[in-house]
């Protein structure tokens, strides 16, 4: 059994002005797990994940990161274990060059200079930023700027990656890089928490999904289970990926044995069915 890396125990959060944003959240995220967080705007997704690196502190209940209560920890202390990629890269980037941006995080963590350079180079290669390394982050387009934001957290090598809407505003090329990033993090044994409205992304990459509605976690299951639960999807006004919707209808008519989450799986499923 894998170790829990993040545990929420009866977590509540109330913003100033008595605005209830999250209630009775109980959740355990195991090491190496890829978790998707979905729900309508205002359901409490971002509020929940902001507790994981101490950006928010529980109003009631507790959050444990690697067994340590976040209540007594500063964000800077938690940054070593939990990396948060903000939805808007403009909130993160400030340095004069992409290279300096990627070096900022590991330097803050006290990583030796040689390793900082190694991490920077690996990130530049992975995110395909070779031609932009000396550019000012604000002089490159938004999709690439967003990749720089992700790369700046990637160089910190946190055990847990939180990606807030990683594919929003991205073109096809940079979206594929996000897919590659999540697969790579999975291979490296990192834990990934992905808040997204992009159901195609989640269907393809996550192991498990939690669904929030009106500040509560109302479901915790595999993507297949979540997407095939019509009542749950309708009550949260969420739509499964088109390919999943298609397979759901075909299965309902007895034309397909399984619900498929991706185009490749769908093609394989249909081919297998036709071969019979």
């Amino acid at each position: 059994m894998t170790d829990p890396v993040i545990v929420c125990e009866n977590l509540w959060h109330v913003y100033p002005g008595d605005i209830l944003a999250l209630q009775e959240a109980n959740l355990t995220i195991n090491a190496g797990e890829i978790l998707g967080v979905i729900g309508q705007n205002g359901s409490g997704k971002t509020t929940l994940v902001k507790h994981f690196n101490g950006l928010l502190k529980p109003t009631r209940g507790k959050v444990l990161v690697k067994g340590v209560d976040t209540a007594g920890k500063r964000i800077q202390q938690l940054a070593k274990d939990v990396g948060y990629v903000f939805q808007n890269p403009n909130h993160q980037l400030f340095a004069r060059t992409v290279e300096a941006e990627l070096e900022f995080g590991p330097r803050n963590l006290g990583v030796p200079e040689k390793e900082v350079i190694e991490r920077r180079e690996k990130a530049i290669e992975f995110f395909n930023l070779q031609e932009l390394r000396n550019h000012h982050p604000y002089r490159i387009g938004f999709p690439l700027r967003k990749l720089v934001g992700m790369a700046s957290i990637y160089t910190m090598h946190p055990a847990v990656f939180i990606l807030d809407e990683p594919t929003t505003g991205q073109d096809n090329v940079t979206t594929r890089t996000v897919y590659r990033l999540i697969h790579k993090l999975r291979d490296e044994g990192s834990t990934v928490v992905c808040v997204a409205h992009d159901m195609i992304l989640l269907a393809e990459v996550v192991d498990r999904m939690i669904v929030l509605r009106d500040t509560r976690i109302i479901a915790d299951a595999t993507p297949r289970e979540v997407f095939s639960n019509r009542e749950l999807m309708q009550s949260t006004h969420l739509l499964p990926p088109q390919v999943t919707e298609l397979s759901l209808r075909l299965k309902a008519e007895g034309k397909l044995p399984e619900i498929e989450l991706s185009v490749n799986d769908m093609v394989a499923g249909i081919a297998s069915h036709l071969a019979k």
């Binding site: 920890k73 980037l93 400030f94």
Partner: protein, 296 residues
């Protein structure tokens, strides 16, 4: 995060002050501004502060008002500490008492105290006007009295942008802390200031394009979404406000005895107490503010 925001914006309410039209409030705030700059008499300035506090109590804007004053007042206290030992006043200076390596001067401490009272009086009335008036009503009223549309728009937009920028700064600071930002010195603030300024510039650029595309620069009379009605009580208030401001101003000009800079003598113990409290007050605020910024 949200607690760090200084709320210089309207506090919704139904008080009698909220019901007054924006123009009388602006006129009275303007009158206080002129009187504050015209006099150095602590009694007049203190009187205006008392009246201002009464308005704060009536309009029930304590929470937001105290947040703003809580930040502003300790900063203003530095005026007393600095002015006391280095007066912005023509020599000769009258020494009161030595204070460590410095000397506290009569003219300096008087100057510092009046500067603080002046700033507090102006701020209170300005905050009452802003916190009890809907920004759009302010915009419509100023337009009504012939303020140029563009200038009016700039003023209103600036007021509306302040809380947005404050929120943005809190978000950016969180993002930098998430990257392990070490919180000491100017170097720590820079990573947060750059995105806020860049964001502000980008926002202004987008706003200007958006405005142009919605015929902002077109000529002719502009209409307003909100209409502000002026009642008899508003005209009476304007009349009274103008009369009171002119009356006090006339009194300040003709009555030379209102200058207490050499007659209001500060006892050595009082001078030391004032300067110490001012210095310590500011230092305490600076330490608390720094601790707040650095704490996650």
């Amino acid at each position: 995060m949200r607690g760090a925001i200084i709320p210089i914006t309207m506090v919704p309410g139904h008080s009698i002050i909220h019901k007054i039209a924006p123009l009388p409030k602006l006129l009275i705030a303007g009158g206080v501004l002129i009187i504050s700059f015209a006099t150095r008499n602590p009694a007049i300035l203190g009187g205006m502060i008392v009246v201002g506090m009464l308005l704060v109590a009536i309009s029930n804007i304590w929470k937001n008002f105290l947040k703003v004053i809580g930040v502003l007042f300790p900063i203003l206290l530095t005026l007393i500490a600095i002015q006391s030992v280095a007066p912005a006043f023509p020599r000769p200076w009258t020494p009161i008492v030595p204070f460590g390596p410095f000397t506290i001067y009569q003219e300096g401490i008087y100057s510092g105290v009046t500067m603080v009272l002046r700033a507090v009086a102006m701020t209170i009335f300005a905050l009452v006007a802003i916190m009890t008036t809907h920004p759009s009503d302010l915009f419509a009223s100023l337009q009504k009295v012939g303020m140029p549309y563009v200038l009016n728009f700039i003023l209103t937009m600036t007021l509306q942008l302040i809380p947005i920028l404050q929120k943005e700064f809190a978000t950016v600071l969180s993002a930098q802390k998430s990257r392990g930002l070490k919180g000491t010195g100017f170097g720590a603030v820079l990573p947060s200031m750059v995105p806020v300024f860049v964001g502000a510039i980008e926002r202004v650029q987008q706003l200007s394009i958006s405005l142009e595309s919605r015929a902002f620069g077109s000529s002719g009379v502009k209409t307003s979404y909100r209409s502000v009605k002026m009642g008899a009580k508003d005209y009476i208030l304007m009349l009274l406000g103008t009369a009171a401001s002119c009356g006090v101003l006339y009194w300040i000009i003709v009555d030379k005895s209102l200058d207490w800079s050499r007659t209001l003598v500060f006892a050595p113990w009082l001078a030391i107490l004032l300067v110490s409290v001012a210095g310590l007050g500011f230092l305490t605020f600076a330490v608390i503010a720094l601790k707040y910024v650095l704490s996650a």
